[in-house]
Amino acid sequence: MNAEEALKEALKDAMSAHVADVRAPAMTGQAVRRRHRAHVTRFRATGAAVLTVLVAAAVPAYTALTSGPGAAPPVPGGALTGPAIPSEGVTLSADSTSEVDVTSPPSPMVTVSPTDSATAVPTRRPTDDPANSAGNLPEDLGDLGDGRAFGGIRVGYLPDGLIWGKWSGKNGFGTTSYTTTYVTPEQLKSGEYSVQIVVFEDEAARRAKSRLRAYRNDPGATKVSVHGAGGVVASLGEGSEVTANAGTPTILWFAKPGLAVEVMMSPVMSEGLGPKGTERELKKIANGVRATS
């Protein structure tokens, strides 16, 4: 064996010995899925921020077009309605027990019609892969109006001050799933959320069923009943595992056979409400949800 071959052999032995004791952690799958979920969350925040920027740009453009003696005539079916600045403050109280009038409209705000070419908001092709659509507007479900009806459900109750987050996603939580968020008017600018709801159907519902079963057997979770259906309230980590520390307060149940609903409250909002207030609000949201299909 010549010197080069000897070096190759010695090097191979050294490399093999160096990593011989290395084993991938048993929790690799969970860690990878947690990273994926964080990636999807970042994508969602980016999309919301882009939408906010575009709306902010659309307002002065619309104002310039429609104000002053030399202004261009309004575009038929104008896209912008209502005052641009929300007029009501946001209050989230842990002591709040008042019933919410679900027929009252959300706070006045700018609304954007995706069908109007004058809005300067580009339409987006629905996609199943968030990873390939970063930077585009996540409007997989289109204009949801007040945002309370989507994915085969109607959201009857939301905590005071929350409005639709003006975005929606499809299949980001498995096939077939739908999701959207509810935010304070201030959060429309920051891209943050207060409440997120995910609807699971078909394949996604089967996975949700497995999770629900596991959660209900987890001592860290609280079993609840939503219109007679067995659900669970738990604080979930980024890998969807029940956690005692700094998780996302979540309630999961089946609104009807084959249709699971998961309501998540942002840790920031939860902190303001406290543990009992958080659980109470999650239950109220859940009890206000009705299957529409």
Partner: protein, 166 residues
Amino acid sequence: MTEEDEAAFDEFLAARSTALLRTAILVCGASAHDAEDLAQGALEKVYRHWPRIRHDNPEAYARRIVVNAAISRSRRRRVIQEITFARPPETAAPQSDPELKDLLIGELRRLPARMRAVVVLRYWEDLSETETAAMLGCSVGTVKSQAARGLARMRARMGARKGTSV
């Protein structure tokens, strides 16, 4: 993803995640902890596209991501490494096999990132020159020259140590 996709991904992890982590450690020249972070980042990309790639040699796809990520990470640390290892340490010649292995790993770490990747893929993964070139997105000629120069550099440094021969 469907349940079948998820189950297939778990099987893939069970079969290949350790090998990918080992490759990351060797190519990156980093600690197991850093390599773990790198490997998980790469696997997240695999997971993101899993339904599309699972039937098309996902292992090669994953390894390519790991290797390229390791090269990128190593390049960011190169300045520090070059300062730290500007001169060979004045250590005594190894007297036993374990010491020789440590010395070889130390020399491997000192190679430039891309050259180290070629050496690892060729002599630890046993990939052919063509496979290595495809993995790194370069020509077969580049693989040949990088491998030869990498071995020569290691041999020269080893030879500089009194009494060391391999």
